[in-house]
């Protein structure tokens, strides 16, 4: 069994304590409020970094730090993409700064764990695309290390 990245695990434990849908919504909005667009370089808004299926125009890129951890950057072009902002803020807070071999263990059902089972298929596809992009970037760095 792969280990969920520790900070992400802590956050998921917090989510599991939420008892109502409104609590979940409020919690997610508090994360979307924390979202800070990191447009370090407009040149990173490339097709390669663009998340397919996501309707909010999300871009994901990463830079490896001297200690081999990854710093992730996110751009959300749709100002009304609150769910995308919430998810990227969560990912930034919980997996940015981890090593690739830890990041690839993000659970595949993360989106449902965070947003709940009532998420529509289209929304799930878009948000899962963000998670898959993060994992794919981490896998890319793992291959380089090998």
């Amino acid at each position: 069994m792969n280990k969920i990245p520790p900070k992400l695990k802590e956050l998921l434990d917090l989510f599991s304590l939420l008892s109502t849908e409104q609590e979940r919504i409020d919690f997610l909005i508090s994360y979307s409020d924390k979202f800070k667009e990191n447009l370090e370089s407009v040149a990173q808004l490339t097709e390669e970094n663009n998340v397919p299926f996501c309707e909010s125009g999300v871009y994901v890129w990463a830079k490896q730090q001297p200690d081999k951890t990854l710093k992730f950057y996110f751009a959300v072009q749709n100002p009304q993409g609150i769910s995308a902002k919430a998810l990227t803020a969560i990912l930034d807070q919980t997996i940015s700064g981890e090593k690739p071999e830890v990041i690839v263990n993000i659970p595949d059902d993360l989106v449902y764990k965070i947003f709940g089972q009532s998420l529509s298929m289209g929304k799930n596809m878009g948000l899962s695309g963000i998670v898959q992009m993060v994992k794919r970037k981490a896998k890319g760095y793992l291959k380089v290390q090998v």
Binding site: I82, S83, A86, S120, G122, R136
Partner: protein
């Protein structure tokens, strides 16, 4: 953008401006309804007095893949404090994509007093108009709805198959990548809920968003819409047309444009759309 009445629409009264809405916030005969693609958006702030109608929870049957029934619609209208005489004004994100979807579902129950706020949420925000997180509570009403009538504005799988056989016009309003089937096969990403990619044979690809001005989300004037649908794609007002997308939400936007803004009389929305067609054993597909 020009005044709505100057844009040459067949039914200009179906649209209202943001200013009109701002001037009717306390009008008891109006109910403002926000419907979004992003389920969190309403809770971050909405037009004062606006109620939230969530398409997954409020407009769909929670067991079968279908819309709510008469009882469910009556319950929804009761919750939002609407009567048959209430004018419902829809608005939302994504250039009113989900607002048009909600509008279309309301037409299945014959609620004709319905309008769309031109430009939707993005225009309201760009104009710096007030948003609130206060959720209004309305006194429940007794709303009596007719049975849902799917015949006029909704198309089903077998009807689409017949439509294809007769070579009648179909409009695929998805992106060119979805239309071609290219997007379904991208590695390491979830598929689009369909086993096969491509489009229904004979369908023309007219992405839904071509009907709106990207800068403020307002609908393009009739002259530009006619150029798009009639001149460039040969869809005529008297044609029997079926529109579809992935689950029928984007195509309800195109249905709204063709029916209400250009006055087409026989347009139906195939809400089964690609998530049904792309999984249907033996269904003809073109790439």
């Amino acid at each position: 953008m020009s005044e709505i009445k100057e844009r040459g629409y067949s039914n200009p009264d179906v649209l209202v401006t943001t200013e009109w809405v701002a001037n009717h916030l306390n009008d008891k005969s109006i109910r403002i309804v926000e419907s979004n693609e992003d389920q969190l958006l309403y809770s971050t702030g909405h037009i004062p007095g606006a109620v939230h109608v969530d398409w997954t929870k409020d407009l769909n049957d929670q067991i079968r893949r279908d819309y709510l029934d008469k009882k469910g619609f009556e319950s929804l209208m009761s919750r939002i404090g609407a009567t048959t005489g209430t004018t419902v004004v829809f608005y939302g994100d994504k250039n009113n994509w989900w607002a048009c979807y909600a509008y279309w579902v309301f037409q299945l129950f014959g609620h004709k007093n319905a309008k769309i706020m031109d430009g939707g949420r993005i225009k309201w925000e760009k104009e710096g108009r007030e948003l609130t997180r206060d959720v209004p509570i309305f006194t429940k009403t007794a709303y009596t709805s007719p049975e849902r009538n799917d015949t006029k504005v909704r198309a089903f799988r077998d009807q689409v198959l017949e439509h294809v056989k007769k070579r009648l016009p179909l409009v695929d309003v998805r992106s060119p990548q979805e239309y071609s089937g290219e997007r379904l096969h991208m590695p390491e990403y979830p598929n689009e809920g369909a086993l096969r990619g491509g489009h229904i044979p004979g369908a023309k690809n007219i992405p839904w968003a071509k009907a709106v001005n990207p800068e403020d989300g307002t609908f393009k004037p009739a002259s530009e819409l006619k150029k798009l649908y009639q001149e460039e794609n040969d869809l005529r007002p008297g044609d029997n047309i079926i529109a579809y997308c992935r689950i029928g939400e984007r195509s309800s936007h195109t249905w709204f444009v063709l029916t209400n803004l250009l006055g087409y009389k026989n347009v139906r929305n195939y809400d089964g759309s690609w998530t049904e067609w792309g999984n249907l054993v033996g269904a003809p597909i073109e790439k």
